[in-house]
């Protein structure tokens, strides 16, 4: 009886090492993607938060100074990007734990749930700001909303550029959920 159990234990150990190698590779990919997303979201928050333009002339009726907190949507964008980049830094710990112990299941499920919530927050901030940036570039004749980019050039360039990092973060979060789901479903 002892011979049978030894042989079968040996077979099990050999067949699980390529599978755990794939899981370990997926966990390392997860870690690297998180680093990229941190850079993207942090850069977006900083780029939007430090915009500031004052035109060199003024009249009695119009303000000629543009900042990110003049539009509540941009304030939401900065706050959302800051929250998501803080969450990503904290989740690096859990991601590293998954590299070391690739067979953890419950913590991967928790990570997927939190990643989905943060994906929603980041997408909301990015697309709300994209709608306002579109309006700032083009205006709207039906509601008589004037395109402010015609006056504030560098403010407009800055806010348009800061959207890029945020949307890169959205794409990375999609990949993160895909990678975590793949690692979870493999036996």
């Amino acid at each position: 009886m002892k011979q049978i159990s030894d042989v079968e234990l040996g077979d099990k150990a050999k067949s699980s090492s390529p599978r755990s190698g794939v899981k370990k590779g997926l966990s390392i990919l997860d870690f690297v993607l998180r680093l990229i997303a941190i850079v993207g979201t942090l850069a977006s928050a900083v780029a939007m938060g430090t915009t500031n333009e004052t035109l060199p002339f003024f009249t009695r009726f119009t303000r000629f100074r543009a900042e990110y907190d003049d539009l509540p949507t941009f304030t939401f964008f900065v706050v959302a990007n800051a929250i998501v980049s803080g969450y990503l830094v904290l989740s690096l710990v859990l991601s590293f734990f998954h590299i070391v112990r690739s067979n953890a299941q419950n913590s991967r499920v928790l990570l997927i749930i939190f990643d989905a919530a943060m994906l929603g927050l980041l997408t909301a901030g990015a697309s709300a700001s994209a709608a306002i940036v579109y309006l700032a570039h083009n205006g709207n004749t039906n509601t008589n909303w004037f395109a402010i980019c015609r006056q504030f050039n560098s403010f407009c360039e800055r806010i348009s550029g800061s959207l890029i990092g945020s949307f890169v973060g959205v794409g990375v979060f999609l990949l993160l959920i895909l990678v975590s789901g793949l690692a979870l479903s493999r036996r």
């Binding site: 159990s5 539009l71 309006l135 039906n142 008589n144 895909l178 479903s185 036996r187």
Partner: protein, 202 residues
């Protein structure tokens, strides 16, 4: 009597086959409790999917049919508002229709996960596709929210006037559609969480 060179130990036939049967755990059926749990998760997934279909399609319909014409006019202003006057609202209607259509098409996949609770491939496919749908739904809901907020409050720094004070019916329709789309977003997040929980191996 055996000789001294080799010793044979005679294990009788029954104990040998019993040992073999014990050591084949991979082919045994999964425990009925875990199968019942996964089936329950799949049924909840199906029901939530039906709710999300209702929310997404009603959001698209409400925004698409919200239009208002005021009974007076001047030379400079247009006094008619409908969803295609604002490109963001057009994106909202189209994207919500796409999300609603995807949810209807994913109902068979959800039924497959009810019938076969232990298959991982349909659940993984549902997880990925639900995440993409969540992104699209959140994106159009948030963009429409920012425009509706602007229409309600205006913005003094950019000299943008609050349009809702004139077009009250249109504004109410647009706001209701945005609320319904956020219900669809929450349901989609729950669907993603359920798929993740059900993907764990037994």
């Amino acid at each position: 009597m055996a000789n001294r060179d080799s010793i044979t130990i005679d294990v009788d036939q029954e104990t040998r086959t019993a040992a073999k049967l014990e050591k084949v755990p991979m082919l045994a059926a999964p425990k009925p409790a875990k199968r019942g749990l996964k089936k329950g998760i799949a049924i909840t997934d199906f029901v939530l999917r039906l709710g999300a279909i209702a929310a997404a399609l009603s959001a698209a319909a409400t925004m698409g049919t919200a239009d208002e014409t005021l009974p007076f006019f001047t030379q400079f202003f247009q006094f008619e508002a409908s969803y295609d006057d604002l490109p963001t609202f057009m994106f909202f209607v189209i994207a919500m229709a796409i999300v609603g259509g995807y949810l209807v098409l994913s109902l068979p996949l959800s039924i497959v996960t009810i019938i076969r609770p232990h298959a991982a491939a349909p659940r993984l496919a549902l997880l990925i596709l639900d995440t993409v749908a969540l992104t699209l739904a959140t994106s159009c809901a948030a963009a429409a929210t920012s425009i509706v907020y602007l229409a309600h409050n205006g913005n003094s720094s950019a000299n943008w006037m609050a349009v809702c004070q004139q077009f009250t019916g249109f504004c109410q329709g647009a706001s209701g559609a945005v609320v319904s789309s956020f219900v669809a977003v929450v349901l989609l997040m729950l669907l993603v969480a359920l798929s993740a929980c059900a993907l764990r191996r037994t």
